[in-house]
C-alpha cells in the first residue's frame, strides 16, 4: 500500500527526473534512498547543478550508497511494521512537543518575552526525535544554536528550556546561556553553541571520554555514545573535517548527524559547496556515510539504530546526512525572502508529524482519540512551561560573578591579601573584577 512511509525495503523521497536511476534494488533503510546519481564532470555537472538550482531541493535528495556494510539488518518482527504502538506514541509525542514548543517560542518572541537570536526547529523534528529517543540518559548530545528541540528530546523539562529562553534564573543554565546555549549536566546535553562547528570537537571529546573510560579506567560496561548535530553550512568548516579524521582514526563512539536543510541563513547549500553530497565525505575518512530522508522519522530511526549500535559496539563513527527542511526562517529575525515558495510547499507536504500520523492510522496502530489526547497534553505542558517561566524571577545581581570560575579563587588575591571571592561585594555581584 502506498503510504508516506513505505516498508523498510524501498525508501522513497522527492525525485528529480533529470538524474538517471541506476538500479533500484531493495535494501534496508540504512541505505537511504535507492537512487544513485550520475554526475559526469564539467559540462553536464554545471547543467545538472543549474537545473538543480532551479529545482533547489530535489537535486540533493536523490542519493545513497553504503560503503561499509557490516551486517544487513533484517526486518525485525514478523509484523513488517517499523514501530510498535508504544514507540509510535512516544515518537509522536516528542515531535509534537518540539513543534508546539517552537511555535510558542515564536509567539513569545513577538510578545517581547524572549530576546536576541532565536532559531526554530519547525520541520526538522524527525531528526531530533529519530536519533535522541534511541539514546540512554548517559549518552551525550551536542547541538548548535538550533537546540531547543534537541534539549527537549534529550529530556530537559520544557519548563527549564522556556525559563532559559526568558532569561530567568530557573532556566537550565540559570538564564546565563539563552537560546543558543542549552546545557544540561543531568541529561548530558553538552550544548548549545553559537559558532558553527565549534561543538563538533566538544562532541569528539565526549566520545573520547567514553572510550577512555572503557579502555583506560577499565569501566567495561561504559558504552556511552555521543551524537553531534550540525547543519549543512558547518560541513564546509575545518573543524568538521578535523573531527571526522580523529573520530575515525581512534574509532570514537560518535555519530555525526548532518541536518541538511539546504540553507545556511540565505546561502544555499549548492552555492557554497563544491560537492553537495555530504554523506560522501564520510568514506573519505574511513567511516560509513549514509543519506536518509530526514522528513521521515521512521527512516531516521532505522538509520539511527544502526549508527548508534555501531558506535556502542566500538566499531567507530558514522556520518549520517539527513535531508530535512526548516519551515521557518533561519531565526526569528530572518525575513526568509530567498527561499522559493514552491520549495517550501513541497517540504510542507512532507511534514514529519503528518506523515507519522498517516502511517500509524493506516497501520491501525493508534486511534485518533489517542493522538488528540497527546496533542492536548502537550498544549497544556507548553502553556504550563510559559506560565512557569513568566512567574520565575529574573537573576539577581549576586549571580553575576558566580559561575565565571568553577573555583572562584581564580579571581585572584586582592590588595588586602584576601582572595577576591571572599569579599562580600563579590557575592553581591557589585565587585569589579
Amino acid at each position: 500500500m502506498a503510504t508516506a512511509f513505505s516498508s523498510i525495503n524501498v525508501v522513497q523521497h522527492a525525485r528529480c527526473d533529470n538524474f538517471s536511476v541506476a538500479s533500484r534494488k531493495p535494501s534496508s533503510a540504512f541505505l537511504g534512498s535507492t537512487y544513485s546519481i550520475r554526475l559526469s564532470p564539467s559540462a553536464s555537472r554545471s547543467a545538472s547543478v543549474s537545473a538543480a538550482v532551479n529545482r533547489k531541493a530535489s537535486s540533493v535528495s536523490a542519493v545513497s550508497e553504503v560503503v561499509k556494510e557490516k551486517k544487513q539488518k533484517s526486518v525485525s518482527s514478523g509484523s513488517n511494521l517499523l514501530i510498535t504502538k508504544e514507540e509510535g506514541l512516544e515518537v509522536y509525542e516528542d515531535m509534537v512537543l518540539g513543534r508546539v514548543f517552537e511555535d510558542m517560542c515564536a509567539q513569545m518572541y513577538y510578545r517581547g518575552k524572549m530576546f536576541g537570536f532565536v532559531h526554530l526547529y519547525n520541520g526538522q523534528e524527525a531528526v531530533s526525535t529519530g536519533f535522541i529517543k534511541l539514546l540512554k540518559k548517559e549518552d551525550c548530545v551536542v547541538s548548535t544554536y538550533r537546540d531547543h528541540v534537541h534539549a527537549l528530546s534529550k529530556g530537559v523539562p520544557a519548563r527549564e528550556v522556556m525559563s532559559e529562553l526568558f532569561g530567568k534564573t530557573t532556566g537550565c543554565c540559570r538564564g546565563q546561556g539563552g537560546s543558543m546555549h542549552m546545557f544540561s549536566k543531568e541529561h548530558n546535553l553538552i550544548g548549545g553553541f553559537a559558532f558553527i562547528g565549534e561543538g563538533i570537537p566538544i562532541a569528539t571529546g565526549a566520545a573520547f571520554t567514553s572510550k577512555y573510560r572503557r579502555e583506560v579506567l577499565k569501566e567495561a560496561d561504559c558504552d556511552h555514545v555521543t551524537v553531534a548535530f550540525f547543519g549543512d553550512g558547518t560541513c564546509n568548516n575545518g573543524q568538521f573535517y578535523e573531527c571526522l579524521n580523529m573520530a575515525a582514526l581512534w574509532k570514537l563512539p560518535i555519530v555525526f548527524v548532518v541536518e541538511n536543510n539546504l540553507w545556511a541563513i540565505g546561502m544555499s547549500h549548492l552555492r557554497s559547496t563544491s560537492d553537495p553530497e555530504i554523506w560522501k565525505k564520510g568514506p573519505a575518512f574511513g567511516m560509513p556515510g549514509v543519506h536518509v530522508d530526514g522528513m521521515d522519522v521512521l527512516k531516521v530511526r532505522e538509520v539511527a539504530k544502526e549508527a548508534i549500535g555501531r558506535a556502542r559496539r566500538g566499531e567507530g563513527p558514522t556520518l549520517v546526512e539527513c535531508e530535512t527542511y526548516r519551515f521557518r526562517g533561519h531565526s526569528l529575525a530572518d525575513p526568509d525572502e530567498l527561499r522559493d515558495p514552491d520549495e517550501k510547499a513541497r517540504y510542507a507536504a512532507r511534514d514529519p508529524i503528518a506523515a507519522l500520523k498517516k502511517y500509524m492510522f493506516e497501520n491501525n496502530l493508534v486511534k485518533e482519540a489517542e493522538l488528540k489526547a497527546i496533542d492536548k497534553k502537550i498544549d497544556e505542558l507548553v502553556e504550563d512551561a510559559v506560565e512557569f517561566a513568566d512567574e520565575s524571577p529574573q537573576p539577581s545581581r549576586s549571580q553575576l560573578l558566580e559561575n565565571v570560575f568553577a573555583d572562584p579563587k581564580g579571581f585572584g588575591i586582592g590588595p588586602d591579601g584576601r582572595y577576591r571571592c571572599e569579599d562580600p561585594k563579590f557575592t553581591e555581584g557589585t565587585a569589579h573584577v
Partner: protein
Amino acid sequence: MERDPCVCVMGEDVGHYGGSYKVTKGLAEKYGDLRVLDTPIAENSFTGMGIGAAMTGLRPVVEGMNMGFLLLAFNQISNNCGMLHYTSGGQFKIPIVIRGPGGVGRQLGAEHSQRLESYFQSIPGIQMVACSTPYNAKGLMKAAIRSKNPVILFEHVLLYNLKERIPDEEYVLSLEEAEMVRPGEHVTILTYSRMRYHVMQAAKTLVNKGYDPEVIDIRSLKPFDLYTIGSSVKKTHRVLIVEECMRTGGIGASLTAAITENFHDHLDAPIMCLSSQDVPTPYAGTLENWTVVQPAQIVTAVEQLCQ
C-alpha cells in the same frame, strides 16, 4: 598521572616522540597511547576535544607544540574553554591545562617566537600562569592539573635546560600567588618567565652600583597577585615592569593599569614598563637581541627611576 587516572595528555608528538621539548618523555611507554595521545595537526579540534573530555570527567593536559600554534585554537580557548562554565550556569567544569613552550628563542623567526599571553589575557574564565624555574614549573603544573578551572601554563623555549635541586616531597604551588625572588628596598621590579633571568643579571650590576632592587616574579599573569605586588609598592614606591610581551596591550600594560588603579598614592614616580618592541621577531641574531629587553636596559631604567 599516577595519582589520578583521569589525567591524560594530548598534543602533537607528545607520545612516541616524547614532546618537542621532551616534556612528556617516557609517559607514553608508561601510560599507553590513549592516555598520552599523539594527535593529528588540528589544534582547534584537538583543543576542543580536550575541552569536551574535560567537561565529561577527564583532566586533560593539552600541549601546544609551540604556544604560537594555539592561535589556531583561539575559537575553542576563548568560546569554549573560558566561557562554558558560565554559559552552562555552572553545570560543566573544565579542568583543562593548556601548556606549551612560547617566548622568543634563538633565531626561530617571527612565528615561532610569539607571546600569546597578551592575546589570551582578556578571555574571561581562564587563569594564566608562567613558570620560570624547575621548582615553580613543577609546582605550578601540579596546581594547574588539580585546579577546577581551565589554566593556561606558559613555558619558555629557552628555559627547558635549567637545572635545579627540588624537594623530593610533593609540593603544589598556588596559582594565584607571585614569588618573591629577591627582597629589596629601593625599587620593585616585576617580571615573569625568561625575563626573570635578565632581571637577576641586571640586579647583580645594580647591587654593585649600590642599589637594592626587590625582584618579584609575578607568575600569575591572570589574575595578578595584587597583595604581593601591592605590599612591595607600598615599601619601595617605585615600579619597573620587565617583560618579554609586546608593548601594546601586553601583560605589562595591564599590570601598569592595575597598579595605578590600586596603588597610585604610593608611587613616587610613574611606572616604567620595559617590553619587547612591537616588531615581528626578526631572524637575524642582532635584531632579535634588540627586540627583547636586555640587562643593560634594565640597569639604565632602574637608575632613571631612582633619581
